[in-house]
């Protein structure tokens, strides 16, 4: 069947190769020779039976119609030879031979046609099979998904071409589980082995994500999904797919990186906006330090030094120095560029620290802050700095919203609670002008801002941070009566400290 590749590309009419023409000619010549012998020889045998050979030959050389024509032609030649050599003498042994020949030709023709038909059907199926194989191979190549089979307990494997390409194994290599394990990243080998063992022990399906370490030192992320199939002998085989998810993984990581970078940038921007407050926050303890130091020195330099006064001055210096360093630490934590670390946190503490950071802004904006500390701890799992960033952002937004407001007390409230579904919820509310209904839906879109100097990233970052924490953020507002921004995130209650 070496015509298969041709069949694959099959156009309905392919040019017939010269060898076929030669064979066709041979068949015609053979038929003619048989005809001549049948006509001219005086042998008392049914020479015409030999036409069977011609018919069988034609099976390979012609289409079905051609075979039918050849069969009919052979019959006509047989009759013609009879008529030429025996005239119209009926009921002779020669006529009986002629009939035998004709029936042999007819039967052979019929069989040849049947064979031809089933051969065509088979060929058609082989053609379709190859087509689908080609599609599959192409789909595997495009989707970077290979097929794998794993027979247990023999640990024999099957790898499709794409699977081989993912593993970077050449075609000669006999696939085994050993080779696959050998390609696995050393850190993931144990996990993969135990996964396969467990799946085999429990007759479960396999699903794994692991890394491959290539010979050139690069690594790939692959995802393997395999289903267990039992065969008749009781052996089981895993049949499944192996996906190269390196690109996806890298894209995911790049996305996370850029998200956390963006969060960092906006955090630093926020810090910039709070620069005056921060300077004051650091200046205050410094000023207390110098005043107390001067006082202490003066007590020391008296004719009779007053040690009690000196001691208390130094005590104050110590605690003020500590206070300044604490402010610096908090600001540094906010400006540091670290990957988010999700740990268990009491959201009450996060809220309190955030409020402490914007304390001066609250004074500057002459805002009255209502922050009730709830009795119950509010455990969540998240990144402290990022959550602080969200809360600070909401507080500052609320204060800025009220900054154009005169003749009315500016009230900002921040409180924690639980949603009906049991999530932890934080609400920051102001009594400013509120948000118009047309702005409400686009509030969290990037670059949406109503402030002339605003970047429009604050709330958008807040949303991506809260999304990453498995929570949601939303705004409520009644025009002229203030706005409330809320976020909720799942309660995380375990290993209470």
């Amino acid at each position: 069947m070496k015509t298969l590749p041709v069949a694959l590309m099959a156009a309905p009419r392919t040019p017939i190769p010269p060898s076929v023409w030669l064979l066709r000619l041979g068949a015609v010549v053979l038929a003619f020779i048989i005809f001549l012998i049948d006509w001219l020889s005086s042998l008392d045998v049914a020479i015409a039976v030999l036409y069977v050979v011609v018919i069988l030959m034609s099976g390979d050389l012609f289409e079905r119609r051609g075979v039918a024509i050849v069969s009919a032609g052979c019959g006509v030649l047989t009759l013609l030879a009879y008529l030429l050599s025996h005239g119209d003498a009926w009921l002779t042994p020669a006529f009986a031979r002629c009939l035998v020949s004709l029936s042999a030709i007819a039967i052979t023709g019929f069989l040849a046609l049947k064979i031809k038909a089933s051969k065509d059907a088979l060929q058609e199926q082989v053609h379709l099979l190859h087509r689908s194989e080609a599609f599959l191979a192409e789909a595997q190549r495009l989707s970077q998904t290979g097929s794998i089979g794993l027979k247990m307990p023999s640990a024999e494997m099957y790898w499709s071409d794409e699977a081989r390409r993912i593993f970077q194994f050449d075609e000669q290599l006999q696939p085994t589980l050993e080779y696959m394990i050998g390609r696995t990243h050393p850190e993931d080998v144990d996990d993969l082995k135990s996964l396969i063992e467990q799946a085999y022990a429990r007759h479960a399906n396999m699903e794994a994500e692991f890394r491959l370490l290539m010979t050139d030192g690069s690594s790939k992320y692959v995802r393997m999904l395999a289903q267990q199939v039992q065969d008749a002998t009781g052996c089981c085989e895993y049949i499944g797919a192996l996906m190269d998810v390196t690109a996806t993984k890298n894209a995911e990581e790049a996305l996370h990186r850029s998200q956390s970078q963006l969060a960092h940038v906006t955090r630093v921007t926020t810090l910039g906006e709070m620069a005056a407050s921060i300077a004051h926050e650091v200046n205050q303890p410094l000023s207390a330090v110098t005043t107390n130091a001067e006082a202490g020195l003066r007590w020391l330099n008296r004719e009779v030094p007053d040690m009690g006064e000196v001691r208390s001055a130094i005590d104050r210096i110590k605690s003020e120095a500590h206070r300044a360093s604490e402010v610096i630490r908090r600001i540094r934590a906010l400006s540091r560029k670290t990957d988010p670390k999700h740990v268990q946190l009491d959201l009450r503490d996060v809220l309190q620290e955030s409020v402490a950071l914007v304390q001066r802004e609250i004074l500057r904006h002459r805002v009255h802050l209502n922050a009730q500390r709830s009795v119950e701890p509010m455990w969540v799992k998240g990144d402290r700095v990022q959550l602080q960033q969200v809360i600070i952002n909401l507080l500052i937004n609320a204060m800025q919203a009220m900054s154009g407001m005169h003749g009315k007390e500016r009230i900002l409230s921040a409180g924690l609670g639980n949603t009906p579904t049991g999530d932890v919820c934080l609400r920051v509310q102001d009594n400013g002008p509120g948000i118009s209904a047309q702005n409400l839906p686009s509030l969290f879109n990037p670059f949406f801002t109503t402030k002339p100097e605003g970047m429009g990233m604050g709330l958008s970052i807040c949303r991506s941070i809260i999304d990453a924490h498995g929570g949601r953020i939303w705004a409520e507002s009644e025009l002229g009566r203030g706005a409330a921004l809320n976020f909720s995130m799942p309660t995380h209650e375990q290993a209470q400290s």
Binding site: N283, P285, L286, A295, W299
Partner: protein
């Protein structure tokens, strides 16, 4: 605090406890009496005596700001010299404070000597103010001892009218005017007529 100790006193109003305590200690270390409060309201709750005093006031206080409190004090007729201290003083803020009569405006962290100098100057100003105030008070109390007639006679006399003219204006006898005038001179403790004219001028200025 109405004790006989009339040595100068420095009041401190700052909401930051460490700075408050530091200033209190610093002032006491140089032998000044000091009293520190966390807010203007707290300051007003305590009575203050007649001793020379000044106020060190933080600009940015929780609640009522230092500048607002300065206005309130002048509304309450408390004319105590004020030295402002501020975490970050901008020009507008200091101009506002100085226009409202502040004596000095120091930006934290300030040199302690600057503060002590400012406080000393403030206390000097206050004692001077108190002295002149005291003299004026005395003059006023003397003036108030005059009868209505005596005051009227005095008012005419200092304009340069003769006794006869005053008598005509008031419809009195010249003798009576003379007696009233003598009483006025005596009660006002004026040795010469020129003294009486000066006193009258000082009273008019008040």
């Amino acid at each position: 605090m109405s004790n006989p100790d009339l040595s100068p006193i420095v009041f401190v109003v700052d909401d930051d406890p460490a700075i408050r305590a530091g200033l209190d200690s610093l002032l006491r270390s140089v032998g000044m009496r000091a009293c520190a409060y966390s807010s203007g309201a707290e300051f007003l709750q305590h009575p203050f005596d007649d001793s020379p005093a000044c106020l060190i006031l933080d600009v940015r206080l929780q609640g009522e700001s230092g500048l607002d409190f300065q206005v309130r004090l002048s509304d309450l007729n408390v004319s105590m010299p004020i030295v402002f201290i501020s975490g970050h003083g901008d020009i507008a803020m200091s101009v506002k404070a100085m226009k409202a009569g502040a004596l000095d405006f120091l930006v934290k962290p300030f040199r302690e000597q600057d503060l002590l100098d400012a406080v000393t100057a403030a206390l000097q100003q206050d004692s001077k103010r108190r002295e002149t105030g005291k003299a004026a008070d005395e003059l006023r109390s003397r003036y108030q001892k005059l009868t209505a007639r005596e005051q009227e006679v005095m008012a005419y006399a200092v304009t340069g009218l003769m006794n006869k003219q005053i008598a005509a204006e008031m419809g009195l006898s010249e003798i009576t005017v003379k007696i009233h005038r003598g009483h006025a001179m005596k009660k006002m403790e004026a040795r010469t007529f020129a003294d009486l004219v000066k006193m009258s001028q000082a009273l008019a200025e008040q």
